[in-house]
């Protein structure tokens, strides 16, 4: 069958591999949760950088309340002393760990060949370990399934060698349980007598062994179940080990005596997540998979007993709220346990509940805060905040809880200050502005509650913490404390820290605190400027480079905050700074330059020139730098130098400009967005001193550069320089080159953008009449581009026309304008709305400068062409069109037949529905213009009919338009029509009429005196209507009317209206009562305060409180409005005199 030449036949055909793969992928995709990614983005931890997530490595201590202890006369554990020791220990531990890592790395490199791919430890080591195990009396169990363990053990060994950190010394010095780790037995088992105050997250909570009642349960600073949750971090069981390891050659070592297996706290074992064990396939997971396949949601409760329904519930929440998830017999619980469950329920409601549930729960937890006590509250709140899957909203709510609770607890929080800080400090470096503000608020409240001394003693140990992250956040927290409690109170401490001899980290942090204070408090540092500068000044000569750099940054921040004052405070640092820039290189030089840049603007103009000369040498040297950060700072400093008053234009031109242009005006700079901006800004600043001609002359040739980004950079600079300094400096030759360059770069652009357009417009407008010779060329460019096939190009050409119209008119080139006008008119059939909008706007600009009579195309042709365009839904088109039509209606309405205007009126009604306020306003104004030229009757009829439509916005705009028509054509033309329309039975129409009247009277002011009597009957009707809104609007009319006619002799009708308004003063609806109160106030102006007082006196001492409240509110408004004028109207109450109190106003009873 198979001949040797024919291709070999396969016995079965199947689909190509790619197709199969595609189906497989599809099948997989079906199981993918499309929200998984967004969900993980909402989680704060998954979004943040590694640096931010270092917060999970932090450990919180209890801070003993020294004040309380002093009161009670006993020693506290967890005080400042202990904290310092703990901190020293941690530092040492980290140092040792680093040394060991170093050593291991070295060893690995050396023994690489020997180790090869073998992952198991060498036999020799194993034997050694076995021997060691046998030999040891057994306090430790060697585990080699964990790498980091080696480091730990190494640390222990090192300590055993003795010296200052010998084990004995440590145990003597530190609290007992510091060194215990998760692999070691909790010491309380061996020594149950001790109270384990210092236990950590990895230790068994005390309650688990024997239920010793400890007032403060340790806070679990890491998420419980975090380790267990991850399958890969779990301990291997014996079965698993047997499956993995060869059966021979391994023996199970018996645990050393004294080892007790770690007992998991019941809290953790109760959670569903930790129940995952082994590799066995669980039945429940089968069920879950089946459920998931059937499209059912995983089993998470949304109804919790005693909590009610929640907005959501996450798997992680189950760990924290395990205790309240199941029904319990409450009678068996102790008071403490009941309290705990109560707190948990409230927290769950706040964290996961719907807004109303959350609100009441928040109020409850606040009210009961002192009852619950600080301990139980924070023990529950803080671990939640350290959960890795925390989302923004949850964090916000929990932080809010802390804030409220803090306020109530006041000094009871003292023992928890450090724990709260550990949780809150990370907020201070969050990317989210609001998170930072929240963090600041909490720390500021915390410091007010705990007091300065306690805050310092709590945070002092973290100042020279080994981890930079901790120091950074601590510095920020300290600056918040300083702003909350005042800089002076913190100054002595800051001075001490900045001079710390013990460690450079402390000095570094101290100086950073000052920097943060400056950044945060701004000019509020001024009163303490000298002290703050003195505090950190010596840091400039510190032996540690990092400290010197930070000092310079601190000085920069202080100078920036105090600008333009306070140079005298910086006297001491000037010399070291200026000497420093000659000594330093790299990062610290950048910091020094930054400081100098901020100090220069504060200096006296007389001296500044000298200092600038000194710094310029370095700056020019650093122009060549390849370091981006340095480049940025150099540019900034050049900018600051140029901005100072003392530097002369001569100096800039000779000494700075040549090198500056050589280094920075190169194509490469245009490629990076940040550099680009910096260079442009700096050049503009230099131009302020050096002049337009100098700068423009240097870069104008680059407008013809072949790189487009570079041309754009040149164009932007020229635009900014010319916009701020004008073009009068530019001579004829430069002018030719400039215009030529601009036209070239405009034509050559490949991506149409705003920069070129702005540049062209700005330069041509600045040149003004001088641009006349080039206009023909420019206009032909525009005309050519108006017919381009790209819509963007056409749009840009139209936009340019808009900008140039004024200048073309100035130059007297009316023919060119006419030509442009005609071409644009022909383009009105444009289909792209953005372009169409630009074309209409350009036509409008031409019409503006030419005037309606000379306009070509004539207005009578232009307007009918615009009417259909009004129906275009695009906002830009609508706005441009309505502006043009409004302009024509205003200036040249007579050129268009009335029929056309009426047609436009109907179209305009649609525009009243527009979203953009500008469009609605333009439309309403257009009604006014049209009514003026046509007479109000027809327009008014259109508008009044429009009051019947459904949309509220359209009706409201109609009422405004009616009022505008009334204003432009005289109220007498409109008011009768409105009154007539008011008789319609439709509610909307009646309300609309009232509203229109209210606007009319607001606009016409004193003219209303002629119409007051005619509207009284209508107002009578409206003010006695059952409808609340009617009375409200009528009250507004009364207000405008009363204010308009004040002093014009309408008191009789106003008094009548007052009698009708007055009973409404008991209304409670906010808008109604507001309108009524305003009407009454307006009556005070018209009728005088005496009349009003006689109304008010009826109810000031009414037996019903509700009546009194209302009357007093009116009295107060009256009193504030006319206190002095009331004096003659107060009633004579002499007859009320009793005993010592004589109420006669005797001075008023005298007469001559």
């Amino acid at each position: 069958m198979t001949s040797p030449g024919s291709p070999r036949l396969v016995d079965s055909f199947t689909a190509p591999k790619e197709v199969l793969q595609e189906f497989a992928d599809l099948a997989e995709e079906e199981n993918v949760d499309p929200f998984a990614e967004t969900a993980s983005k909402r989680q704060i931890a998954s979004r943040q950088s590694d640096y931010h997530n270092r917060k999970f490595n932090r450990q919180a201590n209890e801070s003993g309340d020294a004040f309380k202890a002093a009161e009670e006369g006993k020693d506290v554990e967890g005080g400042y002393k202990d904290a310092m020791k703990v901190q020293l220990l941690e530092k040492e531990e980290q140092r040792v760990r680093r040394a060991i890592e170093e050593k291991e790395k070295q060893a690995r490199e050396e023994g690489k060949a020997k180790m090869d791919l073998d992952k198991t430890p060498p036999r020799a080591e194993l034997q050694a370990a076995a021997q060691e195990l046998a030999a040891m009396s057994g306090t430790k169990r060697k585990r080699r399934w964990d790498v980091s363990d080696t480091a730990e053990d190494g640390g222990e060994n090192k300590e055993n060698k003795g010296g200052e950190w010998s084990k004995e010394a440590l145990e003597g010095a530190a609290p007992k349980k510091r060194r215990s780790r998760w692999d070691a037995t909790p010491a309380d088992v061996s020594a149950p007598g001790e109270t384990p105050k210092r236990s950590r997250w990895d230790q068994t909570p005390v309650a688990a062994n024997g239920g010793i009642d400890v007032p403060m349960t340790p806070i679990i600073m890491n998420a419980p179940g975090f380790m267990q949750e991850d399958k890969h971090n779990r301990y291997l069981t014996d079965e698993e080990l047997e499956a993995i390891l060869p059966s021979s050659g391994y023996a199970i070592v018996t645990p050393p005596p004294g080892y007790a297996p770690l007992v998991r706290p019941p809290k953790l074992t109760a959670t569903p997540v930790t129940e995952v064990g082994g590799f066995q396939i669980q039945e429940s997971s089968d069920a879950a998979a089946a459920a998931a396949a059937a499209g059912l949601a995983p089993e998470l409760p949304t109804e919790i007993p005693g909590v009610g329904s929640l907005a959501f519930f996450k798997a992680e929440d189950a760990q924290y709220f395990a205790k309240i998830l199941k029904e319990e017999d409450e009678t068996e619980l102790s008071v403490e346990e009941m309290k705990e469950r109560k707190i948990m329920r409230l927290l769950l409601k706040i964290k996961n509940g719907t807004p109303p549930v959350r609100k009441t729960a928040l109020r409850q937890i606040t009210d009961k805060a002192r009852e619950f006590g600080a301990g139980p509250l924070f023990d529950k709140i803080l671990p939640l905040l350290m959960e890795r899957t925390l989302e923004d909203q949850e964090r916000h709510l929990l932080v809010k809880v802390i804030d409220r609770v803090l306020y109530k607890l006041d000094d009871l929080v003292r023992p928890y200050v450090h724990k709260i800080l550990v949780v809150i400090e990370p907020l201070l470096i969050d990317e989210d502005y609001y998170a930072r503000v929240e963090g600041r608020e909490i720390i500021s409240n915390l410091s007010k509650a705990a007091g300065l001394a306690h805050m310092i003693s709590t945070m002092r140990p973290d100042i020279d913490h080994a981890d930079e992250y901790v120091r950074n956040t601590t510095a920020r927290a300290f600056s918040v404390v300083a702003s909350a409690l005042g800089i002076p109170s913190l100054l002595p401490f800051l001075k001490a820290v900045c001079r710390s001899k013990k460690s450079w980290q402390a000095r570094h942090t101290g100086i950073r605190i000052v920097q943060q204070i400056a950044i945060m408090m701004g000019c509020a540092v001024l009163p303490h400027l000298r002290n703050l500068v003195e505090c950190i000044a010596h840091g400039l000569q510190d032996e540690q480079q990092k400290v010197r750099t930070m000092t310079a940054l601190g000085l920069a921040a202080l100078a920036e905050a105090s600008a333009p004052y306070g140079i005298e405070s910086f006297d001491n640092v000037l010399k070291p700074l200026w000497v420093g820039i000659r000594l330093h290189r790299g990062k610290s030089l950048a910091a020094f330059l930054k400081a100098i840049g901020f100090i220069l603007p504060l200096m006296d103009p007389e001296y500044v020139a000298y200092y600038i000369k000194e710094v310029t040498i370095i700056l020019i040297r650093e122009f060549q730098t390849s370091d981006e950060e340095m480049k940025k700072i150099v540019l900034k400093v050049v900018q600051q130098c140029a901005a100072t008053e003392g530097v002369t234009s001569q100096y800039i031109k000779q000494d700075i400009l040549p090198d500056f242009f050589k280094a920075f005006w190169v194509r490469r700079m245009a490629l990076d967005r940040r550099n680009y901006r910096q260079v442009v800004e700096t050049t503009v600043e230099l131009a302020q001193k050096a002049g337009v001609a100098e700068i423009v002359g240097r870069i104008v040739n680059e407008l013809k550069d072949e790189a487009e980004p570079y041309r754009k950079m040149v164009m932007e600079t020229i635009t900014k320089v010319v916009a701020s300094l004008g073009a009068s400096d530019i001579d004829e030759r430069l002018e030719v080159r400039l215009v030529d360059g601009i036209i070239y770069s405009f034509q050559e652009q490949t991506t149409e953008d705003q920069v070129m357009l702005d540049g062209f417009g700005t330069v041509v407008n600045a040149l003004g009449i001088r641009v006349k010779p080039y206009l023909t060329q420019i206009v032909s460019t525009i005309l050519w581009r108006l017919n381009n096939k790209s819509a963007k190009v056409r749009q840009q050409a139209a936009d340019l026309t808009t900008r140039l119209a004024v200048v073309i008119k100035q130059c007297g080139e009316d023919q060119l304008l006419n030509k442009l006008g005609l071409v644009l008119f022909e383009q009105l059939g444009e289909e792209y709305p953005d372009t169409l909008g630009s074309i209409i706007a350009a036509e409008g600009a031409i019409a503006n400068v030419v005037g309606m009579t000379q306009m070509n195309p004539p207005v009578k042709d232009l307007l009918p062409r615009m009417t259909p365009i009004l129906r275009n839904r695009h906002e830009k088109v609508q706005e441009a069109t309505i502006n043009l039509i409004g302009r024509i209606a205003d200036r040249g309405a007579e050129y268009v037949p009335a029929r056309e205007w009426m047609r436009i009126c109907f179209e305009l009604l649609d525009l009243l529905k527009a979203h953009k306020k500008g469009i609605r306003r333009a439309a309403v104004n257009s009604f006014g213009y049209i009514a003026k030229s046509l007479g109000p009757q027809d327009v008014l009829q259109v508008l009044l009919t429009n009051l019947r439509v459904q949309e509220r916005q359209s009706r409201v705009c109609s009422t405004v338009a009616i009022a505008i028509v009334a204003e432009t054509c005289g109220p007498f033309t409109c008011i009768p029509a409105i009154l007539n329309e008011y008789r319609t039975a439709e509610l909307n129409v009646r309300t609309g009429c009232l509203k229109a009247l209210s606007f009319v009277f607001e606009y016409v002011g004193p003219q209303s005196a002629y119409y007051a009597d005619s509207v009284v009957t209508m107002l009578e009707d409206a003010l006695t209507d059952r409808d609340l809104v009617h009375r409200q609007t009528a009250s507004t009319i009364v207000k405008h009317l009363a204010l308009g006619v004040a002093g014009l002799g309408c008191e009789d009708s106003m008094l009548h209206l007052m009698n009708l308004v007055w009973p409404n003063c008991f209304e409670t609806s906010p808008h109604v009562i507001g309108a009524v109160m305003e009407a009454i106030e307006a009556m005070r102006v018209t009728l005088g305060p005496g009349v009003l007082l006689s109304y008010i006196l009826q109810g000031l001492f009414h037996p019903a409180r509700k009546v009194r409240e209302v009357y007093w509110r009116i009295y107060n408004s009256l009193y504030l409005g006319a206190a002095d004028a009331l004096v003659p109207f107060y009633p004579d109450l002499g007859e009320l005199s009793e005993g010592q109190n004589v109420y006669d106003r005797h001075p008023l009873q005298m007469f001559i």
Partner: protein
């Protein structure tokens, strides 16, 4: 402060009122209100030169004396506050 108005725009009005002396509220006593009235009256006399000189002529005193006495009397224009009975 009436509770149903606590959350409306008028709360601001009430707060604003409470910031000034001379304004009142539903629990103001007769004595307090009249004391304010008297102080306003006295202040008005001191503040209007015509009124002050009218009183000076009627009293046969110097204008300065009248003004001084009026100012002095502002301290407790209606005598000491009555004892509270509750």
């Amino acid at each position: 402060m009436s509770s149903e108005l606590r959350y409306t725009a008028n709360t601001q009005l009430e707060h604003l009122h409470a910031r000034y002396t001379g304004t009142g509220h539903a629990d103001l006593t007769k004595y307090e209100w009249l004391t304010h009235q008297h102080r306003d009256t006295l202040a008005s006399i001191v503040g209007h030169p015509t009124l002050a000189s009218y009183l000076a002529i009627a009293d046969g005193e110097a204008v300065g004396r009248v003004k001084f006495e009026m100012t002095e009397r502002m301290l407790q224009p209606c005598g000491p506050p009555p004892a509270k009975d509750d």
